[in-house]
Structures are given as structure tokens and as C-alpha cells.
């Protein structure tokens, strides 16, 4: 008999060797590995803030997947102000940023340390301080508009629509020709890098984004 040890199995084993408070549970769900455990928020001065019981669900598409995180101790108020669903599913970050991570492939321990752990640390920050440490995205469409502005430095509705359109169509323009979008002499130096970046989000997300920007009234 052959035992196939997948990358996910290997990374789960490494994770459980490092974090003693987690265990693999039988979730009776095909193609999903479920970890359950307690996350303790300890800051950089070894101050202990709080514990949360959480569940991590990882699809077998790993590493090209984003784990789902559920907060089970109900210490986070089930209110959209806290970026959590009634079932306790946590909204760790905006989809765009997650899509980029998924495309590159994640590593479980790294994802725990840099995405999951900071989410709960930030909840502690908010309940003790009144606001999140690094701001937050607005809800729904407004958050996506905010992402384009803050992370991609794009604010002009019509320009954004043209960029998204080119990214969806995947039109091949000559790199050294005049740009048909903004009119500058070399396409490769103005809009091409932006289009390439948008392409990474994938067509589904880009279509959603197009709809959001298209429905904005022309200012």
C-alpha cells in the first residue's frame, strides 16, 4: 500500500509540532482538513491579552487556497462591525489581497503567523482601544473602491474601468506603441504594469469590480 503524503499533510504536521494547542479533527468533510485549537494573543512584550477557540478549514487545493477561519468561543461579537458572520466565519482581509495570496500559494505556518494571528490581535486592539490598529476596509463595494485607492493608487472611475476592461479581455497591445488608454507614448511604461497587476485578481473578481465601478455615478 502506498501512503501519499501531500504537501498539506506535511505542513499540518509541522504546524501541530510547533503549536501544541491545536489538533487535527475529523470533520467528515471530503477535501477539507480541519484544525481546532486555541490561539492566545501575546504581544511583543510577552503580555497576554486573550484566548480564542478557533477552527481552521483548509481545502485540499492547498497551497492554492485560503483557509476559512471560524471563531468558536464567541468572544467576538457577531456583528459586522467585527468582520465576522453569525456562524463565526472571520473576514481576515479583503478578497483582492487573499486572491493574490492564493495565486502565489500559501504556507500554513506563515498564514497563521501573518494573517490569522494578526486578525485576533487586531480584535483585541479594537475592543481595548475602540478602533482597529491599521484602519479597516469599508463594507461591501465601498471597501473595494477603497482598496483600489489605497493599494493600487487608482481613483478615476473611467480610467479604472478601462484598465479592468483590458485586464479582462487580455488584449495584447504592442508594448512600445502609444497607449490607447491614456495616450502616453509608451504603453509598457504607463498602463501595462497596472493591467498586469489587475490580471492577478482573476476574471471573476475583475467582473465584480467592473460592475461596482460602472454603477458609480459619473462625478
Amino acid at each position: 500500500m502506498f501512503i501519499v503524503v501531500t504537501l498539506l499533510d506535511k505542513h499540518i504536521k509541522e504546524f501541530l509540532e510547533l503549536y501544541h494547542n491545536f489538533r487535527l479533527v475529523d470533520s467528515n468533510r471530503k477535501h477539507i482538513a480541519t484544525l481546532q485549537g486555541t490561539i492566545t494573543i501575546v504581544d511583543e512584550n510577552n503580555q497576554i491579552w486573550s484566548d480564542y477557540d478557533i477552527r481552521i478549514e483548509i481545502s485540499h487545493a492547498y497551497p492554492y487556497t485560503i483557509p476559512s477561519i471560524y471563531e468558536e468561543s464567541k468572544l467576538i461579537e457577531r456583528d459586522w462591525e467585527f468582520h465576522i458572520s453569525k456562524e463565526g466565519k472571520c473576514c481576515l482581509d479583503i478578497h483582492h489581497s487573499m486572491l493574490l495570496k492564493r495565486r502565489k500559494g500559501i504556507s500554513l505556518i506563515n498564514f497563521y503567523q501573518n494573517v490569522i494571528y494578526p486578525f485576533f490581535a487586531n480584535h483585541q486592539y479594537k475592543v481595548n482601544e475602540g478602533s482597529y490598529a491599521n484602519g479597516e476596509y469599508k463594507h461591501f463595494e465601498k471597501g473595494i473602491i477603497q482598496y483600489y485607492e489605497e493599494e493600487l493608487d487608482l481613483t478615476d472611475r473611467d480610467y479604472i474601468l478601462k484598465l479592468i476592461d483590458s485586464a479582462i479581455l487580455g488584449t495584447k497591445y504592442a508594448r512600445n506603441n502609444t497607449c490607447t488608454i491614456c495616450g502616453s507614448p509608451k504603453f509598457k511604461k504607463c498602463c501595462l504594469p497596472k493591467i498586469n497587476k489587475l490580471t492577478l485578481f482573476g476574471k471573476d473578481q475583475l467582473k465584480t469590480d467592473y460592475g461596482i465601478f460602472a454603477s458609480l455615478s459619473i462625478n
Binding site: Q47, I94, Q113, A133, G135, G143
Partner: protein, 328 residues
């Protein structure tokens, strides 16, 4: 805040004030006598005495730790001190423990002997604190190590085994984590403890007064008291090796890995095993510590300040990595 901070702080000061460390960048090798180490005396007095020890205890009140008064005198276990100056004996179970601090000669290249001695003393004092905290009894202090007992009359044997494991785990934690973090920042890594623990049952331990006249002490004559230092010498850096009698009393065995060679052969084919004790797993499972973002263990004992007194500036760098969005 860790229960060991008062010790760590003195060690930090000694290292920071060490004249050899300060001068080595500027001048050639110098004899220790060329340095003024008078500050060491003041620092020694800063090591917590039994009075501030009690302050640490009040800090951890309600956490299942026993409260103790002044440090008891050494050399005569209180439950057996009636044997003093007599030739009577008594058979009673006891756990014997040995722990010592190993520092490499590299430390002497870097610091004055006075500083190295103070570092060692700081660790030994922190160890005494942990042993007392966990209901143990310090029998003897040897410059860089301790001989201790856990258990006695009217004590539960299994509880005493757990207390011994807890105390030694805390000490190993202190040296491996708190202290090492600091030394690593000062590019010194060569300091560690090694420990051995073993339990002798009633039929295996004889208490007696050993020595002539008044120059003696109440001590144990037991194979298992003798095996403990042997196991100590088999421990890896920051390791704790425990005897089979201890492991037999523990319901959960996953913390113990049997060593390939037994520590004792009875001569009739029977052997007595020794085990490596996985103390960091033990600390986690028994709620004595938690793990930070990177999996480093942080002791919970004495680390329970009320939320409003926590300083958020240390939380912010981690929290800032997250920017939440509601998208469900």
C-alpha cells in the same frame, strides 16, 4: 511580566555593566584584576530575598501555587529533622532532584569572572524560587547547582511528582527562553541547565543523620537519590531526565521518551529506565504557559495583569498586519 523577571533584571544589569564586555572592542586582553567590579556587590543585593520572594508570591495568588513564608533553612528536611544528631533512621519516599548551570568557557572570554558568577547565582536563586513555589525543599546549594527534595510526610506522591516536574520545567524554561532571548541579543548562547529527578518509594529510601557531631545533615540513603545526578549528567542542554518510578506514577506518558540505555542494572537481569522529559509540551498542556505568534512559550504564572494596565504599543505592530473587511 514573568515570575523570573526580578532575576533576569539583575543578570541584565550585570552584563550591561561588565567592564570587560565594554572594553573588549577597544583594548587588548586584560586581567580581571584590571577591572573595577565593585558594582557586583550592589547587584547581588538586588537579587530577590525571601521578602521580595513573598511579593512575587502575592502576585501569583489564586493560581494554585502554595504560599510560603521565609525560605526554610537548608540541609534538614523539615519532616525529618527530628533525626538530627541521632542515629535513628526512618524509611519514607522522596523525590530527589539535581539541577546545575553549565556555562561555557566562552562566557569567561567575554565577561569578568565576577559577572559570570553573578549570572550563575541569579539562575540558582531563580531556581530556588521555583522549587519553593512548587512545594519543594532545597537541600543543598553548590555554587552552580542545587540538590532538592519534593515530597514528605502527609503529601500526595503523585502531586509531588507533578510539582517536581513543574518546578524543573519552569527553571529550564527560564534559562532556555527568558535568559537566552537576552543573551542571544548579546551574542552569548552558551548557558544552559541540566537536571535529573528520581523518586524512591518507602522501601527504597532511608532517612538518616549523616556526619559527626553537629557538623552533619539529615539526608537520604537511596539508590534513587544517587541515580538523580547520574541522570542529570545524561541530560541534553536545558534537558531534564527522570527515572522510571516518576514516569510510572504519571497517567499521561507522552511527555516522556525512554532513553536507549537504562540508568541502572540490578545485576539480576532487571533494569531501571531513564526518560527525557518533554517539558515544553508539559508546560503547554498543563496551562502553565501559552504560545506566542511564533510558538515561543510564555509562562502564564504571574503574567495576568488586568487588561487596562496592558500597554497596547506592544500589541499594535502585530495588530497592524491585519486590515479587516466585511465581505460575507
Amino acid at each position: 511580566m514573568s515570575v523570573f523577571n526580578p532575576y533576569l533584571n539583575v543578570i541584565k544589569k550585570a552584563v550591561q555593566q561588565d567592564p570587560k564586555l565594554r572594553q573588549r572592542l577597544f583594548s587588548a586582553e586584560q586581567e580581571d584584576s584590571a577591572f573595577d567590579t565593585s558594582y557586583i556587590k550592589a547587584l547581588r543585593n538586588e537579587l530577590p530575598n525571601s521578602k521580595s520572594l513573598n511579593e512575587s508570591v502575592s502576585l501569583i495568588k489564586g493560581m494554585g501555587a502554595p504560599v510560603f513564608g521565609d525560605l526554610p533553612e537548608l540541609g534538614n528536611h523539615p519532616d525529618f529533622k527530628h533525626l538530627r544528631y541521632t542515629d535513628e533512621t526512618e524509611d519514607h519516599w522522596i523525590i530527589s532532584g539535581f539541577i546545575d548551570v553549565k556555562d561555557s568557557t566562552k562566557l569567561f572570554n567575554r565577561f569578568t569572572k565576577a559577572t559570570v558568577a553573578l549570572i550563575t547565582e541569579g539562575i540558582v536563586q531563580a531556581s530556588i524560587f521555583a522549587v519553593n513555589l512548587c512545594d519543594g525543599y532545597v537541600h543543598r546549594i553548590q555554587g552552580d547547582g542545587l540538590m532538592v527534595y519534593f515530597g514528605g510526610k502527609n503529601k500526595d506522591k503523585t502531586e509531588s511528582v507533578k510539582n517536581a516536574l513543574k518546578a524543573f520545567a519552569m527553571i529550564s524554561y527560564f534559562v532556555k527562553n527568558d535568559l537566552k532571548d537576552f543573551f542571544a541579543a548579546n551574542s552569548v548562547t552558551e548557558i544552559f541547565t541540566r537536571a535529573g529527578l528520581d523518586l524512591g518509594h518507602n522501601s527504597q529510601v532511608r532517612w538518616l543523620y549523616s556526619g559527626s557531631g553537629k557538623a552533619g545533615e539529615v539526608t537520604t540513603c537511596s539508590l534513587h537519590t544517587s541515580l538523580a545526578p547520574k541522570m542529570q549528567s545524561n541530560a541534553v542542554s536545558n534537558g531534564i531526565v527522570v527515572g522510571q518510578n516518576m514516569v510510572n506514577l504519571m497517567a499521561i506518558r507522552k511527555y516522556f521518551t525512554e532513553k536507549r540505555n537504562p540508568i541502572w542494572e540490578y545485576g539480576d537481569g532487571r533494569t531501571y529506565s531513564q526518560y527525557d522529559f518533554n517539558w515544553d509540551m508539559y508546560i503547554m498542556d498543563n496551562g502553565l504557559g501559552v504560545q506566542d505568534r511564533y510558538g515561543n512559550i510564555v509562562l502564564t504564572m504571574g503574567n495576568s495583569e488586568p487588561k487596562q494596565s496592558l500597554d497596547k504599543t506592544y500589541l499594535a505592530p502585530i495588530a497592524k498586519l491585519n486590515k479587516p473587511y466585511f465581505c460575507l
